[in-house]
């Protein structure tokens, strides 16, 4: 698709957003993003169906599964225009961006038929069951167990997942569990698709430092799942989980950056209004934030370019570290622009947005792989430095 067609496509997205993100959906503008993820859940579920009606869910999926097989450039354009219009956080993100591609790659035909259409139509919301209390950044240390019930052929799952985003608003969860008693590390894991609404599952929200509760602990006590909900073979869990994680990167990046840009603009505007922009230190920090954002934009474009440039591949290992620290600093900058008055809540939704930004950006450098893990990965995989030894008692 050439630049001209891409512009037309962008205009189409922008028009659709303008025509639809209004009226009863108007309260959704800029809502439901990280830190605000549990906002307005019912209306956002309706919004998912509205998007589906417009053909904007799963636009990168192959046509045979209901997608539009958009090119990478088009998907990026869609994400950017969606963000530019203030589109709300997507409840369907996990299904569309992670589980769908995983099933397309590893699922049986039956699984595809059963699970893909409701994702595409915005009717079933998924969440992700990876992290565990004793395995924060250490996926190989999973302790949740799945055992085969010989009578029914079902799998019975017992254990606990944590940091499960939006579990309380979801219909299904995919879970990585240990199916081979006595196995350790990445071996002996199973990848399961489980309905959340059953008696073996309890969901406890985790209250975050900003007050919201978009994350949950999910407790499994002989929760049941039928054998046809195993993706791949028992024992394949690690490979499937790792592939799935790789889907997470890339496409949504430029849309995320569009959101960052909106936040930075808001900060710059408030700084001008309240006079903070006259402070040389604040002025420099705003300029620095802008420079960092531009660098992120071009870094994302180098990543998406998928060239054979090993330098770009190497440097893309740093992207998570780069954006999360940039965003954490932005959260602090927003508060410092508000100054002393930012310590007290007000009626102005703009200052409230900055207060929330401050709190939820604290988590950016932790979730999705802590900065410490990121630096290990860069050093070890990227720079070929010696691996960190595991302790003796893994």
């Amino acid at each position: 698709m050439n630049e001209q067609n891409l512009s037309a496509f962008r205009a189409e997205v922008a028009d659709w957003m303008k025509a639809n993100l209004c009226g009863r959906f108007a309260p959704l503008v800029d809502r439901g993003h990280a830190g605000d993820g549990d906002a307005l859940p019912d209306l956002r579920k309706e919004w998912e169906r509205e998007l589906a009606g417009g053909g904007w869910t799963c636009p990168g999926w192959p046509a045979e599964y209901g997608g539009r097989a958009l090119s990478v450039a088009e998907q990026v354009a869609f994400q950017e225009e969606y963000a530019r219009a203030g589109g709300p956080g997507r409840l369907g993100h996990i299904g569309e961006g992670l589980l769908g591609p995983t099933l397309i790659a590893f699922g049986t035909e039956t699984q595809k038929q059963r699970f893909l259409p409701p994702i595409r139509e915005g009717r079933e919301i998924w969440c992700q069951g990876y992290s565990e209390p004793e395995a924060g950044s250490d996926l190989a240390n999973i302790k949740t167990r799945a055992r085969l019930d010989p009578e029914t052929g079902d799998w019975l799952v017992t254990g606990q997942k944590v940091w499960t985003s939006l579990a309380h608003l979801s219909d299904w969860i995919f879970v990585v569990a240990r199916c081979d008693e006595g196995s350790v590390g990445p071996k002996g894991l199973i990848f399961l698709l489980m309905p959340l609404d059953q008696k073996g599952i309890e969901i406890h929200p985790i209250r975050q430092i900003g007050g919201g509760s978009e994350f949950n602990s999910v407790f499994f006590d002989d929760a049941r799942v039928s054998a046809d909900c195993v993706v791949g073979q028992p024992g394949d869990g690690w490979r499937i989980a790792m592939t799935l994680l790789s889907f997470e990167r890339g496409l949504s990046t430029l849309g995320q950056q569009m959101g960052f840009q909106r936040e930075l603009q808001l900060i710059a505007v408030l700084a001008r209004e309240n006079g903070a922009a006259a402070d040389p230190a604040i002025k420099m920090r705003i300029a620095r934030a802008w420079v960092g954002l531009r660098a992120m934009r071009y870094m994302a474009m180098r990543m998406l370019a998928d060239s054979s440039d090993p330098q770009a591949k190497l440097e893309s290992l740093g992207y998570k570290y780069q954006w999360s620290h940039w965003h954490r600093d932005l959260g602090k900058l927003g508060m410092d622009v508000l100054g002393f008055s930012g310590a007290s809540a007000t009626d102005d939704p703009r200052t409230e947005k900055l207060r929330q930004l401050f709190f939820f950006t604290r988590a950016d450098t932790v979730y999705g792989g802590t900065s410490e893990i990121q630096l290990n990965i860069i050093a070890e995989r990227g720079l070929g430095m010696p691996k960190e030894p595991r302790g003796g008692t893994a």
Binding site: W163, I209, G342, S344, V366, G391, G392
Partner: protein, 375 residues
């Protein structure tokens, strides 16, 4: 100048530490947060039983007659646990204002009340974020037959809801005057929803509130510049609470990471983590050193004490911020939950970062001090 701690000082600090470790536990702090950020029982113990409020009040007013250095030691311990008591506003903000600016008569009476533990106190600072919080005075006083009528509004008064005594600066014939207002004479207080629930803030609105003739406590010749001297104590005290809080936050973090295991090792065994904790200790040590130096200067009556206190404010505020940011990061996932304590320190760090000016504003003012001195 001797910066060693005497045996008495060491004993006092250790006792304060021990006492607060028992009484200002995480559970107690959280219980106080749920009820407005004030632990009444703890305050009664501190002010009444232990008599800490008299630490820097002269003996003639019933205090212990000790100095800024001892005040700092106590505030560090209060800050270490974010103890939800109005100690700073009472001892560092209000008492010095009274001591320096009040008439002899009111001074003895009011300081006596504070020293004896019978008054939690605060000052309605008109501009808490400004270098000179009295650069504009928001209240007006008018004489009426029996006393005075006070009117005006102050956006943010620390510990207002739990104070017994509020010192209100007001304009009277274009000059500043000071009024001691009993909290009981004020209407209901509606605290702000603030970042830091352990240090509550509320607006104070006075719509023609009558107070008695004896409510006026200043000597009648106040200039706005006169507030600078007592405010040194407020600034120093704030820095002391911040340094203490930074230490408490580092302790919290060290305790967590020495227990928490990842990849089969305690988090504390990772060298990158060790180095970051060590750097934090260096920064806290730097801040504490300047804090102690500034306190000793204040006690010694040196000329340059304002600069030392300004510098201590910068380092203390930054050390606390850095400690809180690292605490959240090194706690990993749970560092971002309400249930764990790092965010309480983060809240304190950010809520106090702009008091008396941001670090950048303080540095910029220091640069001007230095240029004047060098010129």
């Amino acid at each position: 100048m001797d910066l060693s701690l005497t045996e008495d000082q060491l004993f006092m600090r250790d006792e304060a530490n021990r006492f607060l470790a028992e009484r200002a536990t995480s559970e107690a702090v959280r219980a106080a947060i749920a009820s407005g950020g004030f632990d009444k029982a703890l305050w009664d113990s501190i002010s009444n039983e232990l008599g800490w409020c008299g630490i820097a009040i002269p003996e003639d007013a019933g205090g212990l007659g000790l100095g800024a250095f001892e005040m700092v030691l106590l505030l560090e311990e209060i800050g270490r646990r974010l103890a939800p008591v109005p100690f700073w506003t009472t001892v560092s903000v209000c008492a010095p204002v009274i001591r320096v600016l009040a008439t002899d008569e009111t001074r003895l009476a009011l300081l006596g009340r504070i020293a004896s533990g019978n008054a939690a106190a605060t000052v309605a600072l008109p501009r808490p974020a400004a270098n000179d919080p009295f650069e504009a005075i928001e209240f007006n006083a008018e004489p009426d037959g029996r006393g005075w009528i006070l009117s005006g509004r102050c956006a943010a008064v620390f510990n207002l809801a739990c104070a017994d005594l509020v010192v209100v600066p007001a304009r009277l014939n274009e000059r500043p005057a000071l009024f001691a207002v009993e909290r009981s004479s004020l209407s209901a207080i509606a605290p702000h929803d603030t970042l830091d629930p352990t240090m509550p803030v509320a607006p104070l609105s006075l719509a023609g509130v009558p107070v008695g003739a004896d409510a006026r406590i200043d000597r009648g010749d106040l200039d706005t510049g006169d507030f600078a001297a007592p405010l040194l104590w407020a600034r120093l005290g704030l820095a002391a609470e911040q340094v203490g809080a930074a230490s408490g936050c580092l302790e919290l973090t060290l305790a967590y990471i020495s227990e928490r295991v990842q990849f089969g090792r305690s988090i504390a065994s990772f060298q990158a983590v060790k180095h970051r904790c060590a750097e934090l200790l260096v920064r806290i040590g730097e801040a504490r050193s300047l804090l102690y130096g500034a306190a000793a200067c204040l006690d010694a009556g040196g000329d340059d004490v304002a600069r030392e206190i300004e510098g201590a404010g910068v380092l203390a505020s930054e050390a606390l911020w850095h400690a809180a940011e690292e605490a959240i990061q090194l706690h990993g996932g749970v560092g971002n939950t309400w249930e764990y304590d790092p965010h309480l320190y983060l809240r304190r760090a950010q809520a106090t970062a702009h008091l008396f000016g941001s670090a950048d504003a303080k540095l910029s003012r220091l640069a001007e001090f230095l240029q004047e001195a060098a010129a």
